[in-house]
Symmetry: C2
Subunit: 187 residues, 2 copies
Amino acid sequence: MARWEPDARGRMLTAALELFAEKGYDGTTAGDIAARAGVTERTFFRHFADKREVLFANPNSLDEMVVKAIAAADEQATPLEMVIGGVRAAAVGLAEARTREQAAQRSRIVEATPALQERELLKMAAMTAAAQAALAERGVGEPTAAMAAYGGVAVFQTAFSRWVSGATDLGLPECVDEAAATLRALT
Amino acid sequence: MARWEPDARGRMLTAALELFAEKGYDGTTAGDIAARAGVTERTFFRHFADKREVLFANPNSLDEMVVKAIAAADEQATPLEMVIGGVRAAAVGLAEARTREQAAQRSRIVEATPALQERELLKMAAMTAAAQAALAERGVGEPTAAMAAYGGVAVFQTAFSRWVSGATDLGLPECVDEAAATLRALT
């Protein structure tokens, strides 16, 4: 890929968020997004299969970061700590790829559009399954692997909704730390 | 409703599970289900909007059970214990409405059919939101309410997948106890 393309991706994300907010998700076409971002439709479709993927395609795969962190985790860590370490790594990656304002705008659009909400939930389910499989690779049995995977992703979801709520100045990784501490205090 | 109708619902669920397993979800019509269950199509549509709803309509609303249990929970309980108490009540209700074999058959069909998987995930997201709102009603602040709601639903999901896996003889409510004990041991 040419050097300018990552920037084109960022412009298309910004354009899509603006247009979805202005005209609604259903009222916006891929062509609208391309025009606003100053790229051709051809360029748009070289990056994204459709307008939905502008919101979901992630250059740094979050699942991969979670799996790698679990594989590399310290022997001494509990399975839940391994998953929380994984979602924290994913949080660092996500916060590098998007500003909080972009993430919050995106969340509002996803919440308001059932097809996007379903896609988001499938993403979380895939992250849970990936974490559970990575724990199994490390020899963690059931139901511990499932509980650690669901619990770690619950920490991520709590952190993410906190981050985009505007109720805190913490960054996303620090929101993961806060949610993990909250879970420990609750149990 | 006439007295025989709850039984007709049970027959339609059994018929749907058999037919989805035999002919696939897409290859089965509402008419097929009605015929196998020995009811008219009219009766089918008096109970269910479509074939999907045979798998999702629940006479005892799980969300309602969770919300009621949280509202009635002991003052001394932590917010996570309140949600776990709620999902345990839902587990009791669910295990009364379905046998493990029915739940396992249903899970296999849901896992294999993306549209059904999305519906199932939306159900879990709705349960989380209901639990979070019920905790807010009791004065629990954020991020504690979100963490307790996501964490409690994570316990339910772990328990449910354990129950239908066939790896244990425990009932669903006991699987909730097992998952909750696992979470405590992990934190």
